[in-house]
Symmetry: none
Subunit: 204 residues, 4 copies
DNA sequence: GATGAATGAGCATTCATTCAT
DNA sequence: TATGAATGAATGCTCATTCAT
């Protein structure tokens, strides 16, 4: 029954694990972590409550794996999006493009990132969220390279700039999610790009 | 500062509401809304559980009033910080300064804003958070004025730029809170300021 | 402190005690004992919550005194109603008349008797309700006299017959209260009288 | 009697619902609705607290279903008791017999009817108690038939007479319950029968 | 592996009662 | 006497997790 890795992570009985993850993303997005009920996720996944515990240790673990899954997709998607682009400012443009594309294609994912990434410090501190850190480092690396090449000003701190960029993207997306996705994300994307590019590039 | 207990019946009341709010901010900051227990807030406030319900309708109401209280302080503090400043880029610098000052002085407040502002869409959608919207508008107004005066470029959308600025500030603060306040916020503040100012001002 | 009986029981600060009793009857009638709140009784009585505890030991005691009060009025009213009547069947007719008159004049009282008299056996067993027993005995005495005089049949047990009469009256009143007092009590009174009189009198 | 566990999934379910109902009857009878604790009912039923909520919506629903269950048994028992009896006065005799038999066999049930049927008007008004109304109508129908056949007098109102009969029965039972079942119910039954029969039948 | 009935710890909220004023 | 703010024990209900089938 279970043929080879058709799914992303490991793929044991891939179908069910996949369905649970998808259901979890949807329900976490709608209700938030604490208001999401395992039984509702099970219902959406068309699986018994107990089945979830065959694939995930507990509710926390499910959230964490949801994060990892999302970040893996983000990072892999970004990698593809950056193929063939060498120049820093172009790469940053693509990062922004990619971020908004993902979000538009999968608004649930956006909601989970924007909302749950902020969960109680207690929770977030314990889970170091390595994949998110990796995503952050990828962006910082682009900026760093841009600084080295003279595209970005020398007084720009790549780590902080990367964080600031993510902050802008995330905040704009959050407001978009909270108002019920009722405005044009593309316009916002362009604004963020303009601000960030002017904000970091070498003055002309 | 503490004017002599002139509040309702023997100076207890005003005092208690204040203590409960303070305790709530602290506990919400530490645990997040859903993991914060009313009984813990009561303990921190040195008050009986039931007393909280003399001042607040329920846990939700307590969170909302915590928000309002924080935002009122933010807005009032900002107003003072902006006194005597007319020029847009200077005003924006002060906005950033003020944001980080508040956060440094009251890190709990920062945590509540960064974390709870994002809580479950369900919760945030119902409560429109008018005070936060007002804060956002104040910043947008500064940018708009800057655009009119030619300080900021004409292609900058004040609403989105304000949101983006807040996103940068908030994200930087969040990472500072999550790592246990272990880096220099001032350096980050300067970086954000540079990016935003270069990002929006009329090119030279 | 305890000056002469200006009020019914003991009469210290008669006014307030009276107001509280009246308010309690009203609220017990509307909500039932367990759903009645001391604070609501206090509000209706236009008295502070704590004041109630100056006149009554606790909520149970308040209910008990409400009973006593009601039964005292019932018994005294009945005494007056029976004045000048000697013959058993006429006296019974007056008992029934009086019962329904009281109930029509003070429906709240009816509700308290019909409903609260039945409260949890545990509660009612502890409180022996001596005044109610006295009321029962008054009726039984009339029947007993009637048996002795040959008005009522010799096989009628006065105690049980008294109880049965009260049961009929009370049930009819209860159904009247529960349907919102929407039918003619007088017609029911007459029916009960006919059944009881035919049911107990010596056959002709 | 106990047919082999053919109920939902391994024969637990049907069994449990039954046990909870039985436990609820017992505890409601002992303590009354408001003083009965869900956890005590659960203990008596040898079930976890939460399990109760798998079968009943909430405490109110549990009480209502207890009523329905009891009334269904009452009505069905009465139906059987009336089989083969055609004549009105004999049928009424059987109604009375049946009432006291049920009560003697299941005193808890009697307590629940006598006590909880009267619960707070607020509660009883909301729940229309259709099964009790049906029981009442059954008795009224017998009386009506008796009137038509000339067994009962023409001036007897069947509805009110039914209610009066129930009132007598219930009051006698209540007093029996309240004194700790210390007198002979049969004697009381006979008295009630005599009063009611003489009270309603065509004079000779 | 899959199920879902059963479990029971956990928590917001209520409200009778107290007591400083 | 009178007040009403403060108290905190008490309880209905939820839901993550388990485990017999």
């Amino acid at each position: 029954m279970e043929q080879g890795k058709t799914t992303i992570r490991g793929g044991r009985s891939g179908d069910k694990r996949e369905r649970i993850l998808r259901a979890a993303i949807q329900v976490f997005a709608e209700k938030g972590f604490f208001q999401a009920k395992i039984s509702e996720i099970a219902t959406v996944a068309e699986v018994a409550d107990g089945t979830i515990y065959l694939y995930f240790d507990n509710k926390d673990d499910l959230l964490i794996q949801v994060f990892e899954e999302i970040m893996v997709r983000f990072i892999e998607g970004l990698k593809v999006a950056l193929e063939g682009s060498e120049e820093a400012s172009d790469r940053i443009r693509r990062v922004i493009e990619h971020h908004f594309s993902m979000v538009e294609a999968h608004p649930d994912i956006a909601a989970v990132i924007a909302v749950e990434l902020r969960q109680s410090p207690k929770f977030m501190k314990e889970y170091k969220n390595p994949k998110f850190a990796q995503y952050m480092r990828s962006i910082a690396a682009i900026i760093e390279e841009g600084v080295r090449m003279g595209t970005f000003r020398g007084d720009v701190d790549p780590i902080i700039a990367a964080r600031a960029l993510f902050g802008m993207l995330d905040e704009v997306v959050l407001s978009w999610v909270l108002v019920g996705r009722r405005f044009d994300l593309r316009h916002s994307a362009e604004q963020v790009r303009i601000i960030f590019m002017h904000g970091t590039r070498t003055s002309t």
